[in-house]
Symmetry: C2
Subunit: 337 residues, 2 copies
Amino acid sequence: MRILLDVMGGDLPPHELVKGGVAAGHRLDVDILFSGEQAAVSHALTRLRERDGSKFSILPSSQVITMTEPPVQAVRKKRDSSLVNGLLALKEHTVDAFVSPGNTGAVVAGAIFIVGRIEGIPRPGIAATIPTVSGREIVVIDVGANVDCAPDHLLHFALMGATYARDVLGIAQPTIGLLNIGTERAKGNKLAHRVYDLLADAPLPFIGNVEGHHLLTERPVDVVVCDGFIGNVFLKTLEGGISAVSNILRSGVNRNWRGRLGGLMLRPVFSLVRKKLSYNQSGGAPLLGVNGSIVIAHGRSDAVAIESAIDVAYRAAKCHLNETMAKGISGWGGNGR
Amino acid sequence: MRILLDVMGGDLPPHELVKGGVAAGHRLDVDILFSGEQAAVSHALTRLRERDGSKFSILPSSQVITMTEPPVQAVRKKRDSSLVNGLLALKEHTVDAFVSPGNTGAVVAGAIFIVGRIEGIPRPGIAATIPTVSGREIVVIDVGANVDCAPDHLLHFALMGATYARDVLGIAQPTIGLLNIGTERAKGNKLAHRVYDLLADAPLPFIGNVEGHHLLTERPVDVVVCDGFIGNVFLKTLEGGISAVSNILRSGVNRNWRGRLGGLMLRPVFSLVRKKLSYNQSGGAPLLGVNGSIVIAHGRSDAVAIESAIDVAYRAAKCHLNETMAKGISGWGGNGR
């Protein structure tokens, strides 16, 4: 298997991302094709005592799509960017999967224009895998690909999220919940009401509405469905709540001897919190619904995060997630609807 | 001043809520009119060695609107409920403010039908005051009164939130931010784009978009504006993130002697976290934009939370917030728009 890594569009420099790619290449026994500025990648490989060869190779590009560029225009104009070149390589099956920590909107736009959508899926969705207190993960879809959704888009998110949870995360019979502002059926806005009706009528393991305050502690479902605007607010707010607590704890621990002693005693507990609830480190988020394995890593990804994002891409490609998804959509479409 | 407390619709029994009302009545030197079942309130007062008199009195009712009832129907049908009777007392100026831990939707619907909207405000909004790491609060409006908003509703939320922040919280020149999924102007859904344009053109101290992950730690603004669905998801998710961390810490501290020792050393730090970030205890949320001081307390409110909600109602009524708001709307409406 060969996985493409876009090393140019992230917040950290190419050499840090190449490091993650090399680590993943060795650990997973896959080949990595680095998409980016040739000299930078080549230099990074040399520093890591690797060389441009068959295991690690370079797809040279002269342009970079930055984080703040308008996605659609950027993809159209920057034809020799690491992002566009990488997606072309995926389309042409030069690689089996694509990973980028770059501009999320540009990856989504490029994926739709270049790689194409799975038939029957008008809107691909980004699935984030979030850790919970129990240690078991939850899939949240969509977390930002579509900020204005029609009800049937969320129906597709539900199906794709459940397929992903089953085939990649290994959850046997994933249950589905709708992110809402109350558990009763009548709660929520117009979109939520219509999505609830669609999900309740569909042959899917839909269990009803779920809410932000109990998702991490009670883990009521395996897959949470929402529109991309809500999903993105949800993810960032969760991160905000967790970092607020960490912030107060950190300054408390550093304040005096008592704090420092307490901090020392609770070091294993604090690292458990970090391990269980670290959103930045946990892999990348796959873009589901396009004709290829595409994983979007956090913009702030370091080598460890990149390695973990490549792992997600590897698992998705290995189990032929997209083929299953395409079959699932058509099979399910005829299933009584 | 006389404040009405609805003691029937909350999750906790009337005697717990009466306790909060009595405490607030003594501390703030206000009279409390308890709306609810006469025998229950009377019994609770006796237990607290108080009596039905001028300071503490009872507005008897025979019906209760529960948490799960459809709001509009409940308000229409249950004419002798503690909630409806209480709002009628507010409308007739028998009391200066109204506090209820009951069905939020029913309080909002009842407030609009019975008490009425301030002229120029088509949609009242619920303003939540949330604590941040720095100790200074942020106002978030709307957190659930309106789940489907037009852009100009958010413009009114901005104005009402800023007035509340200035007159009740004492923030001299409150700044306003729009809750979004990125800080750049182009980010967000259709509603966010249109609201951004409206806010940028209005004579308001609008500083741009804000995001969930930095609100508590960086506190970039004093007032955060959003539609009620997003705002409610935001509040609950924040609570979820914080309780996930607390949950892991708690079991870590209780696991072994090392954890217990650490917990003992860090007790002041943990209580600082609780003090700084406890959403349930912090007061009630005023419903802004109606012709009367109405405060919605958390459904799970205990006596302490009720006392704090009455405090919010007291401060809002004392500074004649509604009169200022009505003037603000008309004054600002003519201000170049």
